[in-house]
Protein backbone atom coordinates (compact mmCIF):
# COMPACT_ATOMS: atom_id res chain seq x y z
CA UNK A 1 0.00 0.00 0.00
CA UNK A 2 2.00 2.99 -1.18
CA UNK A 3 -0.16 6.04 -1.06
CA UNK A 4 -3.55 7.23 0.02
CA UNK A 5 -4.97 6.79 -3.49
CA UNK A 6 -3.92 3.14 -3.49
CA UNK A 7 -5.72 2.58 -0.20
CA UNK A 8 -8.88 4.20 -1.56
CA UNK A 9 -8.63 1.99 -4.59
CA UNK A 10 -8.10 -1.17 -2.54
CA UNK A 11 -11.11 -0.36 -0.38
CA UNK A 12 -13.29 0.24 -3.44
CA UNK A 13 -12.06 -3.04 -4.93
CA UNK A 14 -13.03 -4.88 -1.76
CA UNK A 15 -16.48 -3.27 -1.70
CA UNK A 16 -17.06 -3.94 -5.40
CA UNK A 17 -16.08 -7.61 -5.09
CA UNK A 18 -18.32 -8.24 -2.07
CA UNK A 19 -21.90 -9.35 -2.64
CA UNK A 20 -23.36 -7.34 0.22
CA UNK A 21 -22.65 -4.08 2.08
CA UNK A 22 -19.57 -4.32 4.29
CA UNK A 23 -18.62 -2.90 7.67
CA UNK A 24 -15.28 -1.23 8.26
CA UNK A 25 -14.17 -4.31 10.21
CA UNK A 26 -14.95 -6.61 7.28
CA UNK A 27 -13.14 -4.37 4.81
CA UNK A 28 -10.12 -4.24 7.08
CA UNK A 29 -10.05 -8.05 7.39
CA UNK A 30 -10.29 -8.29 3.64
CA UNK A 31 -7.40 -5.83 3.11
CA UNK A 32 -5.18 -7.38 5.77
CA UNK A 33 -5.49 -10.88 4.34
CA UNK A 34 -2.02 -12.05 3.33
CA UNK A 35 -0.37 -8.91 4.69
CA UNK A 36 2.34 -9.13 7.35
CA UNK A 37 1.80 -5.66 8.77
CA UNK A 38 -1.91 -5.02 8.98
CA UNK A 39 -3.71 -1.70 8.55
CA UNK A 40 -5.12 -0.04 11.65
CA UNK A 41 -8.90 0.04 12.07
CA UNK A 42 -8.85 3.83 12.32
CA UNK A 43 -6.99 4.21 9.03
CA UNK A 44 -9.52 2.12 7.15
CA UNK A 45 -12.42 3.88 8.86
CA UNK A 46 -11.07 7.34 8.01
CA UNK A 47 -10.51 6.52 4.36
CA UNK A 48 -13.96 4.94 4.08
CA UNK A 49 -15.53 8.06 5.55
CA UNK A 50 -13.67 10.13 2.99
CA UNK A 51 -14.92 7.87 0.21
CA UNK A 52 -18.43 8.29 1.58
CA UNK A 53 -18.05 12.07 1.58
CA UNK A 54 -16.72 11.99 -1.97
CA UNK A 55 -19.79 10.04 -3.06
CA UNK A 56 -18.11 6.75 -3.87
CA UNK A 57 -19.70 4.87 -0.94
CA UNK A 58 -23.13 5.06 0.60
CA UNK A 59 -23.77 3.76 4.07
CA UNK A 60 -26.62 2.61 6.30
CA UNK A 61 -26.69 2.07 10.06
CA UNK A 62 -26.65 -1.60 11.03
CA UNK A 63 -26.75 -1.99 14.81
CA UNK A 64 -23.84 0.06 16.14
CA UNK A 65 -21.78 0.09 12.95
CA UNK A 66 -22.27 1.42 9.42
CA UNK A 67 -22.51 -0.87 6.44
CA UNK A 68 -20.98 0.58 3.29
CA UNK A 69 -21.86 -0.16 -0.30
CA UNK A 70 -20.62 1.30 -3.58
CA UNK A 71 -22.98 3.93 -5.00
CA UNK A 72 -22.30 2.66 -8.52
CA UNK A 73 -20.75 -0.50 -9.83
CA UNK A 74 -17.30 -0.48 -11.41
CA UNK A 75 -18.93 -1.11 -14.79
CA UNK A 76 -21.23 1.89 -14.39
CA UNK A 77 -18.27 4.16 -13.64
CA UNK A 78 -16.36 2.78 -16.63
CA UNK A 79 -19.41 3.31 -18.84
CA UNK A 80 -19.76 6.90 -17.60
CA UNK A 81 -16.14 7.58 -18.60
CA UNK A 82 -16.66 6.13 -22.05
CA UNK A 83 -19.87 8.18 -22.31
CA UNK A 84 -17.77 11.28 -21.69
CA UNK A 85 -15.37 10.27 -24.45
CA UNK A 86 -18.35 9.55 -26.67
CA UNK A 87 -19.87 12.93 -25.98
CA UNK A 88 -16.59 14.78 -26.50
CA UNK A 89 -17.44 16.51 -29.69
CA UNK A 90 -15.41 19.10 -31.49
CA UNK A 91 -15.20 21.38 -28.47
CA UNK A 92 -13.76 18.85 -26.08
CA UNK A 93 -10.75 17.65 -28.02
CA UNK A 94 -8.34 19.49 -25.78
CA UNK A 95 -9.47 17.32 -22.88
CA UNK A 96 -9.35 13.93 -24.52
CA UNK A 97 -7.87 12.88 -27.78
CA UNK A 98 -9.81 10.04 -29.28
CA UNK A 99 -8.40 7.59 -31.72
CA UNK A 100 -11.69 6.35 -33.03
CA UNK A 101 -13.75 8.51 -35.25
CA UNK A 102 -17.06 7.78 -36.83
CA UNK A 103 -17.33 6.26 -40.28
CA UNK A 104 -20.55 5.37 -42.04
CA UNK A 105 -21.16 1.85 -43.32
CA UNK A 106 -20.23 2.65 -46.90
CA UNK A 107 -16.91 4.10 -45.85
CA UNK A 108 -16.18 1.10 -43.63
CA UNK A 109 -16.89 -1.30 -46.49
CA UNK A 110 -14.74 0.76 -48.85
CA UNK A 111 -11.69 1.02 -46.59
CA UNK A 112 -12.00 -2.62 -45.53
CA UNK A 113 -11.87 -3.68 -49.18
CA UNK A 114 -8.90 -1.38 -49.83
CA UNK A 115 -7.10 -2.75 -46.79
CA UNK A 116 -7.70 -6.35 -47.89
CA UNK A 117 -6.40 -5.53 -51.35
CA UNK A 118 -3.22 -3.98 -49.91
CA UNK A 119 -2.66 -7.02 -47.71
CA UNK A 120 -3.04 -9.39 -50.65
CA UNK A 121 -0.66 -7.25 -52.66
CA UNK A 122 1.90 -7.37 -49.90
CA UNK A 123 1.69 -11.13 -49.48
CA UNK A 124 2.03 -12.05 -53.17
Amino acid sequence: MRGFGDLEQAIMDAVWVADEPLTVREVRECLNRGRSQGLAYNTVQTVMEILHRKGWLSRAKDGRAFRYRATKSREEYAASLIDQVWASGADRTATLVRLFDEMDEEEVAEVRAALAARRRGQRS
Binding site: G5, L81, V97, L99, F100, V111
Partner: protein
Protein backbone atom coordinates in the same frame (compact mmCIF):
# COMPACT_ATOMS: atom_id res chain seq x y z
CA UNK B 1 -3.07 56.08 -39.79
CA UNK B 2 -1.38 54.65 -42.86
CA UNK B 3 0.45 52.07 -40.73
CA UNK B 4 -2.74 51.06 -38.92
CA UNK B 5 -4.65 50.73 -42.17
CA UNK B 6 -1.88 48.66 -43.74
CA UNK B 7 -1.85 46.34 -40.74
CA UNK B 8 -5.62 45.95 -40.72
CA UNK B 9 -5.57 45.36 -44.47
CA UNK B 10 -2.91 42.68 -44.01
CA UNK B 11 -4.95 41.00 -41.27
CA UNK B 12 -8.08 41.05 -43.44
CA UNK B 13 -6.16 39.73 -46.43
CA UNK B 14 -4.68 36.81 -44.48
CA UNK B 15 -8.01 36.03 -42.84
CA UNK B 16 -9.83 35.82 -46.17
CA UNK B 17 -7.09 34.34 -48.35
CA UNK B 18 -5.93 31.58 -45.98
CA UNK B 19 -8.97 29.26 -45.53
CA UNK B 20 -8.66 27.64 -49.02
CA UNK B 21 -5.28 26.30 -47.84
CA UNK B 22 -7.34 23.57 -46.15
CA UNK B 23 -7.84 22.00 -49.57
CA UNK B 24 -4.15 22.04 -50.53
CA UNK B 25 -2.69 18.63 -51.31
CA UNK B 26 0.62 19.04 -49.53
CA UNK B 27 -0.84 19.43 -46.03
CA UNK B 28 -1.51 15.70 -45.67
CA UNK B 29 2.11 14.99 -46.62
CA UNK B 30 3.53 17.25 -43.92
CA UNK B 31 0.91 17.53 -41.17
CA UNK B 32 3.26 18.98 -38.56
CA UNK B 33 4.40 21.72 -40.91
CA UNK B 34 0.78 22.41 -41.82
CA UNK B 35 -0.10 22.77 -38.12
CA UNK B 36 2.71 25.35 -37.79
CA UNK B 37 1.44 27.23 -40.85
CA UNK B 38 -2.11 27.39 -39.45
CA UNK B 39 -0.72 28.61 -36.14
CA UNK B 40 1.36 31.25 -37.91
CA UNK B 41 -1.65 32.40 -39.92
CA UNK B 42 -3.83 32.69 -36.83
CA UNK B 43 -1.22 34.44 -34.72
CA UNK B 44 -0.25 36.89 -37.45
CA UNK B 45 -3.87 38.01 -37.88
CA UNK B 46 -4.27 38.68 -34.14
CA UNK B 47 -0.88 40.37 -33.87
CA UNK B 48 -1.55 42.63 -36.89
CA UNK B 49 -4.87 43.78 -35.47
CA UNK B 50 -3.32 44.50 -32.07
CA UNK B 51 -0.40 46.37 -33.65
CA UNK B 52 -2.83 48.39 -35.76
CA UNK B 53 -4.51 49.52 -32.56
CA UNK B 54 -1.17 50.37 -30.99
CA UNK B 55 0.00 52.26 -34.08
CA UNK B 56 -2.96 54.60 -33.67
CA UNK B 57 -1.77 55.82 -30.27
CA UNK B 58 1.79 56.61 -31.35
CA UNK B 59 0.93 60.20 -32.43
CA UNK B 60 -0.32 61.11 -28.95
CA UNK B 61 2.15 63.26 -27.06
CA UNK B 62 3.10 60.97 -24.15
CA UNK B 63 3.50 57.91 -26.35
CA UNK B 64 5.49 59.57 -29.09
CA UNK B 65 7.65 61.31 -26.48
CA UNK B 66 8.59 58.18 -24.57
CA UNK B 67 8.94 56.15 -27.75
CA UNK B 68 11.26 58.80 -29.14
CA UNK B 69 13.32 58.67 -25.96
CA UNK B 70 13.46 54.90 -26.13
CA UNK B 71 14.47 54.77 -29.78
CA UNK B 72 16.55 57.95 -29.57
CA UNK B 73 14.45 59.14 -32.46
CA UNK B 74 12.68 62.37 -33.18
CA UNK B 75 9.25 62.61 -31.63
CA UNK B 76 8.01 64.90 -34.36
CA UNK B 77 9.04 62.44 -37.01
CA UNK B 78 7.29 59.64 -35.18
CA UNK B 79 4.16 61.73 -34.88
CA UNK B 80 4.25 62.54 -38.54
CA UNK B 81 4.84 58.98 -39.68
CA UNK B 82 2.04 57.54 -37.59
CA UNK B 83 -0.17 60.62 -37.92
CA UNK B 84 -3.91 60.08 -37.75
CA UNK B 85 -6.70 62.50 -38.43
CA UNK B 86 -9.07 62.65 -35.49
CA UNK B 87 -6.47 62.80 -32.74
CA UNK B 88 -7.60 61.66 -29.32
CA UNK B 89 -10.75 59.84 -30.49
CA UNK B 90 -8.79 57.68 -32.91
CA UNK B 91 -6.06 57.07 -30.33
CA UNK B 92 -8.64 56.02 -27.76
CA UNK B 93 -10.30 53.61 -30.16
CA UNK B 94 -6.86 52.27 -31.11
CA UNK B 95 -5.87 51.44 -27.57
CA UNK B 96 -9.31 49.95 -26.88
CA UNK B 97 -9.03 47.77 -29.97
CA UNK B 98 -5.64 46.45 -28.84
CA UNK B 99 -6.77 45.86 -25.27
CA UNK B 100 -10.06 44.22 -26.24
CA UNK B 101 -8.34 41.85 -28.66
CA UNK B 102 -5.60 40.90 -26.21
CA UNK B 103 -8.06 40.54 -23.35
CA UNK B 104 -10.42 38.38 -25.36
CA UNK B 105 -7.66 36.04 -26.57
CA UNK B 106 -6.11 35.82 -23.10
CA UNK B 107 -9.46 35.15 -21.44
CA UNK B 108 -10.49 32.43 -23.89
CA UNK B 109 -7.06 30.81 -23.67
CA UNK B 110 -7.04 30.78 -19.86
CA UNK B 111 -10.65 29.58 -19.70
CA UNK B 112 -9.94 26.82 -22.22
CA UNK B 113 -6.84 25.66 -20.34
CA UNK B 114 -8.60 25.64 -16.98
CA UNK B 115 -11.71 23.94 -18.32
CA UNK B 116 -9.68 21.21 -20.03
CA UNK B 117 -7.53 20.69 -16.97
CA UNK B 118 -10.51 20.47 -14.64
CA UNK B 119 -12.33 18.01 -16.89
CA UNK B 120 -9.17 15.94 -17.25
CA UNK B 121 -8.47 15.73 -13.53
CA UNK B 122 -12.08 14.73 -12.78
CA UNK B 123 -11.86 12.09 -15.48
CA UNK B 124 -8.47 10.89 -14.20
CA UNK B 125 -9.75 10.57 -10.62
CA UNK B 126 -12.50 8.17 -11.68
CA UNK B 127 -10.15 6.40 -14.08
CA UNK B 128 -7.61 5.75 -11.32
CA UNK B 129 -10.33 4.09 -9.26
CA UNK B 130 -12.00 1.90 -11.87
CA UNK B 131 -9.28 1.28 -14.46
CA UNK B 132 -7.05 -1.77 -14.57
CA UNK B 133 -3.37 -1.47 -15.39
CA UNK B 134 -2.11 -3.01 -18.58
CA UNK B 135 1.26 -4.65 -19.30
CA UNK B 136 2.27 -1.61 -21.34
CA UNK B 137 3.35 1.24 -19.07
CA UNK B 138 1.02 4.20 -19.03
CA UNK B 139 -1.92 2.22 -20.39
CA UNK B 140 -5.16 1.76 -18.46
CA UNK B 141 -7.90 -0.69 -19.39
CA UNK B 142 -11.58 0.02 -18.79
CA UNK B 143 -14.18 -2.72 -18.88
CA UNK B 144 -16.69 -1.66 -21.50
CA UNK B 145 -18.24 -3.32 -24.50
CA UNK B 146 -17.56 -0.36 -26.81
CA UNK B 147 -14.17 -0.55 -28.56
CA UNK B 148 -12.60 2.80 -27.73
CA UNK B 149 -9.05 4.13 -27.50
CA UNK B 150 -8.21 7.58 -26.26
CA UNK B 151 -5.58 9.43 -24.32
CA UNK B 152 -5.76 11.74 -21.37
CA UNK B 153 -2.91 14.18 -22.09
CA UNK B 154 -1.10 16.59 -19.84
CA UNK B 155 0.21 15.99 -16.35
CA UNK B 156 -0.09 12.34 -15.31
CA UNK B 157 -1.08 11.38 -18.85
CA UNK B 158 -2.75 8.02 -19.51
CA UNK B 159 -3.65 6.00 -22.56
CA UNK B 160 -7.01 4.31 -22.14
CA UNK B 161 -8.31 1.28 -23.99
CA UNK B 162 -11.56 -0.52 -23.37
CA UNK B 163 -11.65 -4.29 -22.91
CA UNK B 164 -13.65 -4.47 -26.14
CA UNK B 165 -10.87 -2.62 -27.99
CA UNK B 166 -8.31 -5.10 -26.62
CA UNK B 167 -10.51 -7.93 -27.84
CA UNK B 168 -10.87 -6.70 -31.43
CA UNK B 169 -7.29 -5.55 -32.00
CA UNK B 170 -4.47 -7.85 -33.10
CA UNK B 171 -1.19 -7.41 -31.18
CA UNK B 172 0.50 -5.32 -33.88
CA UNK B 173 -2.64 -3.21 -34.27
CA UNK B 174 -2.58 -2.62 -30.53
CA UNK B 175 1.06 -1.50 -30.80
CA UNK B 176 0.05 0.94 -33.54
CA UNK B 177 -2.78 2.35 -31.44
CA UNK B 178 -0.55 2.84 -28.40
CA UNK B 179 2.17 4.43 -30.55
CA UNK B 180 -0.45 6.80 -31.99
CA UNK B 181 -1.65 7.87 -28.54
CA UNK B 182 1.92 8.22 -27.24
CA UNK B 183 2.62 10.58 -30.15
CA UNK B 184 -0.36 12.73 -29.13
CA UNK B 185 1.04 12.99 -25.62
CA UNK B 186 4.66 13.50 -26.64
CA UNK B 187 3.88 16.17 -29.25
CA UNK B 188 1.64 18.06 -26.77
CA UNK B 189 -1.31 18.03 -29.14
CA UNK B 190 -3.69 19.03 -26.37
CA UNK B 191 -1.93 22.39 -26.02
CA UNK B 192 -1.99 22.98 -29.78
CA UNK B 193 -5.71 22.25 -29.74
CA UNK B 194 -6.35 24.52 -26.75
CA UNK B 195 -4.73 27.40 -28.65
CA UNK B 196 -6.63 26.82 -31.87
CA UNK B 197 -9.94 26.36 -30.08
CA UNK B 198 -9.41 29.43 -27.90
CA UNK B 199 -9.11 31.62 -31.02
CA UNK B 200 -12.12 29.90 -32.55
CA UNK B 201 -14.16 30.67 -29.44
CA UNK B 202 -12.77 34.20 -29.05
CA UNK B 203 -13.70 35.30 -32.59
CA UNK B 204 -16.50 33.07 -33.87
CA UNK B 205 -17.23 35.46 -36.75
CA UNK B 206 -13.77 35.08 -38.28
CA UNK B 207 -13.90 32.04 -40.57
CA UNK B 208 -10.10 31.66 -40.55
CA UNK B 209 -10.07 30.63 -36.89
CA UNK B 210 -12.86 28.09 -37.35
CA UNK B 211 -11.10 26.59 -40.36
CA UNK B 212 -7.75 26.60 -38.53
CA UNK B 213 -9.23 24.79 -35.51
CA UNK B 214 -10.97 22.22 -37.68
CA UNK B 215 -7.83 21.63 -39.72
CA UNK B 216 -5.69 21.40 -36.58
CA UNK B 217 -7.98 18.69 -35.20
CA UNK B 218 -7.54 16.75 -38.44
CA UNK B 219 -3.81 17.37 -38.74
CA UNK B 220 -2.84 16.34 -35.19
CA UNK B 221 -4.40 12.94 -35.93
CA UNK B 222 -2.31 12.66 -39.08
CA UNK B 223 0.83 13.75 -37.23
CA UNK B 224 0.20 11.04 -34.62
CA UNK B 225 -0.49 8.53 -37.42
CA UNK B 226 2.88 9.35 -38.97
CA UNK B 227 4.65 8.76 -35.65
CA UNK B 228 2.82 5.44 -35.22
CA UNK B 229 3.54 4.07 -38.70
CA UNK B 230 7.22 4.81 -38.24
CA UNK B 231 7.05 2.07 -35.59
CA UNK B 232 4.56 -0.42 -36.93
CA UNK B 233 3.97 0.25 -40.62
CA UNK B 234 0.83 1.73 -42.12
CA UNK B 235 -1.24 -1.44 -42.50
CA UNK B 236 -1.48 -2.24 -38.78
CA UNK B 237 -2.66 1.26 -37.97
CA UNK B 238 -5.10 1.32 -40.88
CA UNK B 239 -6.54 -2.00 -39.73
CA UNK B 240 -6.81 -0.73 -36.15
CA UNK B 241 -8.65 2.39 -37.33
CA UNK B 242 -11.08 0.28 -39.31
CA UNK B 243 -11.67 -2.02 -36.34
CA UNK B 244 -12.25 0.83 -33.90
CA UNK B 245 -14.24 3.11 -36.17
CA UNK B 246 -16.07 0.41 -38.09
CA UNK B 247 -17.58 -1.30 -35.09
CA UNK B 248 -19.04 1.92 -33.77
CA UNK B 249 -22.50 3.07 -34.71
CA UNK B 250 -22.17 6.77 -35.50
CA UNK B 251 -23.78 8.74 -32.70
CA UNK B 252 -26.21 11.41 -33.78
CA UNK B 253 -24.40 14.05 -31.78
CA UNK B 254 -21.12 13.33 -33.50
CA UNK B 255 -22.34 13.21 -37.06
CA UNK B 256 -21.96 16.96 -37.41
CA UNK B 257 -18.35 17.05 -36.29
CA UNK B 258 -17.30 15.36 -39.50
CA UNK B 259 -15.25 12.21 -39.19
CA UNK B 260 -11.77 12.11 -40.62
CA UNK B 261 -11.24 8.39 -40.05
CA UNK B 262 -11.98 7.23 -43.59
CA UNK B 263 -9.69 9.90 -45.03
CA UNK B 264 -6.95 8.85 -42.65
CA UNK B 265 -7.24 5.18 -43.63
CA UNK B 266 -7.11 6.12 -47.33
CA UNK B 267 -4.03 8.21 -46.61
CA UNK B 268 -2.33 5.33 -44.78
CA UNK B 269 -3.13 2.91 -47.58
CA UNK B 270 -1.95 5.27 -50.30
CA UNK B 271 1.53 5.15 -48.82
CA UNK B 272 3.34 7.88 -46.98
CA UNK B 273 5.10 10.39 -49.20
CA UNK B 274 6.69 12.95 -46.89
CA UNK B 275 7.29 16.38 -48.34
CA UNK B 276 10.79 16.97 -49.72
CA UNK B 277 13.25 18.80 -47.54
CA UNK B 278 13.36 21.89 -49.75
CA UNK B 279 9.57 22.20 -49.80
CA UNK B 280 9.41 21.73 -46.03
CA UNK B 281 11.99 24.47 -45.47
CA UNK B 282 10.08 26.68 -47.87
CA UNK B 283 6.93 26.18 -45.83
CA UNK B 284 8.75 26.96 -42.61
CA UNK B 285 10.14 30.15 -44.15
CA UNK B 286 6.69 31.21 -45.27
CA UNK B 287 5.38 30.64 -41.73
CA UNK B 288 8.23 32.75 -40.34
CA UNK B 289 7.63 35.49 -42.89
CA UNK B 290 3.92 35.55 -42.03
CA UNK B 291 4.81 36.17 -38.40
CA UNK B 292 7.52 38.75 -39.13
CA UNK B 293 5.62 40.82 -41.66
CA UNK B 294 3.25 42.72 -39.33
CA UNK B 295 6.16 43.51 -36.99
CA UNK B 296 8.13 44.97 -39.89
CA UNK B 297 5.08 46.86 -41.12
CA UNK B 298 4.47 48.39 -37.70
CA UNK B 299 8.08 49.16 -36.85
CA UNK B 300 9.37 50.35 -40.20
CA UNK B 301 8.38 54.05 -39.86
CA UNK B 302 9.81 54.16 -36.35
CA UNK B 303 13.06 52.60 -37.50
CA UNK B 304 13.23 55.11 -40.33
CA UNK B 305 12.75 57.91 -37.80
CA UNK B 306 15.61 56.54 -35.70
CA UNK B 307 17.93 56.90 -38.65
CA UNK B 308 17.37 60.66 -38.84
CA UNK B 309 19.91 62.82 -37.07
CA UNK B 310 17.59 65.74 -36.75
CA UNK B 311 13.99 66.66 -37.31
CA UNK B 312 13.03 67.94 -40.72
CA UNK B 313 13.18 71.71 -40.80
CA UNK B 314 9.70 72.13 -42.15
CA UNK B 315 8.44 70.98 -38.76
CA UNK B 316 10.14 73.92 -37.10
CA UNK B 317 7.42 76.59 -37.27
CA UNK B 318 4.74 74.18 -36.10
CA UNK B 319 6.80 72.88 -33.22
CA UNK B 320 7.72 76.34 -32.04
CA UNK B 321 4.08 77.01 -31.35
CA UNK B 322 3.97 74.06 -28.94
CA UNK B 323 7.31 74.84 -27.38
CA UNK B 324 6.07 74.84 -23.74
CA UNK B 325 5.74 71.06 -23.81
CA UNK B 326 8.96 70.64 -25.65
CA UNK B 327 11.28 69.49 -22.88
CA UNK B 328 9.13 66.50 -22.06
CA UNK B 329 7.67 65.53 -25.36
CA UNK B 330 10.19 66.42 -28.02
CA UNK B 331 13.42 65.60 -26.31
CA UNK B 332 16.13 65.01 -28.80
CA UNK B 333 14.71 67.22 -31.51
CA UNK B 334 17.01 69.76 -32.94
CA UNK B 335 14.26 72.30 -33.31
CA UNK B 336 13.43 72.28 -29.62
CA UNK B 337 16.84 72.57 -28.11
CA UNK B 338 19.75 74.98 -28.57
CA UNK B 339 21.86 73.89 -31.52
CA UNK B 340 24.78 72.18 -29.90
CA UNK B 341 26.61 69.08 -31.17
CA UNK B 342 25.11 66.93 -28.41
CA UNK B 343 21.56 68.05 -29.05
CA UNK B 344 21.04 65.85 -32.05
CA UNK B 345 20.08 62.94 -29.90
CA UNK B 346 18.68 62.47 -26.52
CA UNK B 347 21.34 60.95 -24.34
CA UNK B 348 20.47 59.20 -21.10
Amino acid sequence: MRVALLLLGYAALVATAAPPLARAAWVVRAPRLAICVWQALSVTVVVSAVLAGLALIVPTVPVSGSLAALLQACALMLRERYATPGGAVVAASGISLALVLLGRVGWCLAAGLLRARGARSRHAAVLAMVGRTHVDPGVTVLDDDRPVAYCLPGHGHRIVLTSAALAVLEPEELDAVIAHERAHIRQRHHLILVGAEALERAFPRVPLFAVAAEQTRRLVEMAADDAAIARTGPLSLAAALVELAGSVAPAASLAASGGHAAGRVRRLLAGHRPLGRAAAWGGALVAGALLAFPLVLAAQPAVAATGMNSCPLREAPRSRSVSPECPAAFRGCLVCSPPSPKAHRYSG
